[in-house]
């Protein structure tokens, strides 16, 4: 039986794990479904964090992780659209 409220939309984004995070999650990325009418980077991160374990540890508030959407640094408030690539970047150490 359908819910009486408007159905929440779902988008799928490609999540990319880099460097230390790839090791910690034993994964270089995945497809992630993000629910909500105005999905944001923060919503995607919250969904990952809710898995517990390494996800909760590495993505705990205050951990130094930056986000990039489609190869540009983006804040947690940034919107996500279906098909976007969301990368999780540990502090960079090149040069």
């Amino acid at each position: 039986m359908p819910d009486s409220s408007a159905p929440s939309s779902v988008i799928t984004v490609r999540v990319v794990y880099l460097a230390r995070l790839r090791d910690a999650f034993a994964s270089d990325g995945e497809s992630l479904a993000v629910r909500g009418d105005a999905p944001t980077v923060g919503a995607a991160i919250a969904a990952l964090r809710a898995r517990g374990g390494a996800w909760a540890d590495e993505l705990a508030p205050g951990r130094a992780v930056r986000y990039a959407v489609n190869h540009e640094v983006a804040p947690a408030e940034a919107s996500l659209r279906n098909g976007d690539e969301l990368a999780l970047l540990p502090p960079v150490t090149g040069g």
Binding site: V16, L18, A19, R20, D23, A64, V92, T93, G94, G95
Partner: protein, 152 residues
């Protein structure tokens, strides 16, 4: 092309010569080469692997170079950054900048390095006697980059 990410080594002298080649407006060429040290945070390092985020890396470096061009009176700039397996004394990065005068050349070269260190998606994994470890970011690098924001 002002930005290159490659596994191969580079010939810094040739790259610098090519950057200024034939341009008689150039009076100053500032350059920086980053190399692999055999020690980091007091531990001997035998090798390292440089990883990056293909697709974002070139874009991030090009943005940094464009910002240097906007802030400083420079003629040309080049960034080459290596990825893959490297050993002590290997070259990691070259930044070279040409300008009419040395002040802008030095400033732009240092600006690009400071921003590269904190904004370009590269990560170093070191091999030491205790195994491999991801290198920690240095607070001093954030401080150096923040200085440019203050000086804006």
């Amino acid at each position: 092309m002002p930005v290159r990410v490659q596994t191969a080594d580079f010939d810094a002298g040739r790259e610098i010569a090519a950057l200024r080649s034939g341009d008689p407006r150039v009076g100053a060429v500032a350059s920086f080469i980053g190399t692999v040290r055999d020690v980091n945070e007091a531990s001997p390092v035998s090798a390292m692997t440089l990883e990056h985020y293909p697709g974002m890396t070139e874009k991030a470096l090009a943005t940094i170079v464009a910002e240097a061009r906007a802030r400083f009176d420079i003629l040309d700039a080049l960034v080459i950054h290596r990825v893959g397996d490297l050993r002590p004394t290997d070259q990691i990065v070259l930044v070279a900048v040409t300008s009419a005068h040395r002040g802008d050349a030095f400033d732009a070269c240092r600006f690009i390095m400071d921003y590269l260190k904190t904004r370009a998606p590269f990560w170093k994994k070191e091999r030491t006697a205790d195994g491999t470890r991801w290198v920690d970011a240095r607070a001093s690098d954030e401080t150096a980059a923040a200085q440019w924001e203050r000086d804006r």
